[in-house]
Amino acid sequence: MEYKNKTLFLEGDVTKFTTTDLLSEFSRIKISEIEFIDLQNVKSIDSAGVAFIDELKFKLKDFSPQFINVSEDINASIETFSAEKMPEPEPAGKANIFVMLGASLYNWLDNFRDAMYLSVDIAYWSFIGIFDRKGQRKGSVIQQSILIGVDALGIIGLLSLVLGLILALQSAAQLRQFGANIFVADLIAISMVREMGPMMTAIIVAGRSGSAIASEIATMKVTEEIDALKMMAINPIRYVVVPKFHAITICMPLLVTMATIIGIVGGLIVGITYLDLSVVSFYTQVINVLTLKDVLIGLSKSVFFAWVIVIIGSFYGFKVTGGAEGVGKATTLSVVASIFAVIILDALFSLVFLI
C-alpha cells in the first residue's frame, strides 16, 4: 500500500490473508487529502478484501475518493461481495423491561393453562387407549416399558443399595450408643418405603426417561413429524404420548418396589455386619413396623410421580420452538421442571399424610 499524489495505491493480494495487515498499514498512513484509490496492481480479491474496500470507503467518506484502474474481474468481485447495497435486516423484537416482565408473567400463565389442557388430553386419551389401541403403534407399550423400566433396573438397583447403606450407617452409631440396634430396621423400612424409594426412583426416571420423552417429542416437532402424523389424521398424543404414559404407569411402581427392597437389603447388610443383628430379627422387625398404609402411600406416590414426569416431558416437547437448539433447551427445561415437580409433590404428599 502506498500513498502519494492524493492517491492510495493498493497492490498484490487483497484477501483474508492480507486484510489484517492492510488495515493496520492503512491506520499508520496519514491522509490529509485523497482523490483516488488505485486498484491497478491488485492481483486478487476475495470477500474479506471487498469488506476491506467497504471499510476504506467508510473511513474516507469525507473525501469520497474515486476508485480508478479497476479491472473487470476485480469490479465483478466488488459488486458481488460489497455490503453496501444490502437491504436492512428486519429489526429484532425490542426489549423493554416492563414489557418483558409483563410478557413473562403472561407467558407463565399461558404455559400453565396449556400444561393443564395437555394433562387433560393425555389423561383422556390414555384412558381411552386402555380399551382401544387404535391410533397407537403395535408393540409400542412393550418397547417403551423396556426403555423406561428394564433399562433403568441396573442404575436404580445400585443407587438404592448405596442409599440403604448410607441411611443405615448414618444412624447406626447413634443407635448403638443407646443399645437400640434393632431400630435400624424401622428406620430403613419406613424411610425407604414412604420417602426414599419413590423419590429417588422418580428423580432417576425423570433424568433418564423424562428427558428422553421431551427430546423425542421436540425432535419430532421440529422435523415436522408431528405435523405429518396430524396430516395422516393420527392424534400425536395418542400415537406418541399414550404408549409412554401406559408404560411408565406400569413400570414406576415396579421400579419403586424393587428400589425399596434393595434399599432395605442395604440396611440389612449394615445391621448384620455392624450392629450384630440377625437376618430373622431384622426381617421380623421390618414386617412388624410396616403397615399396608405405608406401602400404599409409597406406591401411589410413585404413580403420581410417573404421570408428572410424562406430562412435563411432553409439555416441553410439544412447546419447542426453533431448530436443534430448541430441542436441547426443551430437554434441559423438562428435566429441571420434572425433578422440581417431583420434590414439591412429595412434600405435598408428606403434608397430607402427616395427619
Binding site: R137, D227, I234
Partner: protein
C-alpha cells in the same frame, strides 16, 4: 362452471404479527394438477399449511370437498384428512421406524385390510417411487431425495383423492424428477387424483401443470391455465416462463 374441490377465500396468514399471506383467493379443480409458484419465502408452504389447518388462518375461509373447514371440529376434519395425502417439503418421515413402517402407518390406522394386502400395497407404492430396494432401511440411511420419494409413497398409500406435494422434485436428478412427473400424471389419470404441487422446475411444470397459481408478496399475482399464464402479460409471470427465474 365446474365446482372447485378446494376453495380458499380471503385467506390471511400470519406468524405472530408478520403477515405472510394477505387476502388470498384461490381455487383448485378436481382431477387437475395445479402448480403453486413463487419465489423462495413467498408463502407457498404457508398457504398449504393454512389450508390443512397446521396453522390457523388469521382470517378467511377454506372449503374442502364442499365443506367449510376452518371452524370444523377435529373429528370431522380428520375424516377429511383421511382423503388427503401430504408430502412435506422435508419429507417428515418418522425417524424412529423403518421406511416400510412409515408407509404402513396410514394403512394400518385407517383401513381394516389384512396384513398380506397391506404389505403388497407398501411394496407397490415404494416401487412406484423406485425405492423397492430400500423397504427395510431407516430414514437416517436414505439420501435427501430418497427420503422425499419415500414420503411420497407414504402420502399416496391410501390413494387419496387429494394430494399435496411441497417441492417433490427438489434435490432429485433430472431423470428421477421426470419419472416422478410421470407418476404424478398416472395418479391423476388412473386414480383421478386432484394434485397440488409446489415446484419451480420449468420442465416439470410444462409436463404436468394444468393450472398455475403464482404467488408474490403475499398475494395471488395470477391464476389460470398454463397457456393463459404464458400470455398473461404480467411481467413477473411471463418472465418466469421465459427464463425460468423469479425477478
Amino acid at each position: 362452471m365446474r365446482e372447485p374441490i378446494i376453495k380458499v377465500e380471503n385467506l390471511v396468514a400470519k406468524y405472530d404479527d408478520k403477515v405472510i399471506l394477505d387476502g388470498v383467493n384461490v381455487e383448485f379443480f378436481p382431477q387437475e394438477v395445479t402448480v403453486i409458484l413463487g419465489g423462495s419465502g413467498c408463502g407457498k408452504t404457508t398457504l398449504i399449511k393454512n389450508i390443512l389447518r397446521l396453522f390457523e388462518p388469521a382470517e378467511g375461509s377454506v372449503t374442502i370437498f364442499g365443506k367449510e373447514t376452518t371452524k370444523m371440529d377435529e373429528d370431522e376434519f380428520n375424516k377429511i384428512l383421511e382423503k388427503i395425502g401430504m408430502l412435506f417439503q422435508n419429507g417428515a418421515l418418522l425417524n424412529s421406524v423403518s421406511i416400510f413402517d412409515n408407509v404402513s402407518i396410514p394403512l394400518e390406522q385407517h383401513t381394516n385390510l389384512p396384513v398380506e394386502i397391506i404389505e403388497k400395497i407398501i411394496e407397490v407404492k415404494l416401487n412406484l417411487v423406485n425405492l423397492g430396494h430400500a423397504i427395510r432401511l431407516f430414514p437416517s440411511e436414505l439420501s435427501g431425495g430418497m427420503k422425499k420419494r419415500a414420503a411420497l409413497a407414504r402420502a399416496i398409500a391410501l390413494d387419496p383423492p387429494l394430494l399435496f406435494c411441497d417441492e417433490p422434485s427438489a434435490g432429485l436428478d433430472p431423470l428421477t424428477s421426470a419419472s416422478l412427473d410421470e407418476l404424478i400424471l398416472k395418479l391423476k389419470k388412473q386414480l383421478k387424483m386432484t394434485i397440488i404441487i409446489v415446484t419451480h422446475e420449468l420442465a416439470s411444470i410444462h409436463r404436468i401443470a394444468d393450472r398455475i397459481i403464482f404467488l408474490d408478496k403475499g398475494r395471488v399475482l395470477f391464476q389460470g391455465t398454463l397457456q393463459e399464464a404464458k400470455v398473461s402479460g404480467i411481467t413477473e409471470v411471463t418472465t418466469f416462463f421465459e427464463v425460468g427465474k423469479f425477478e
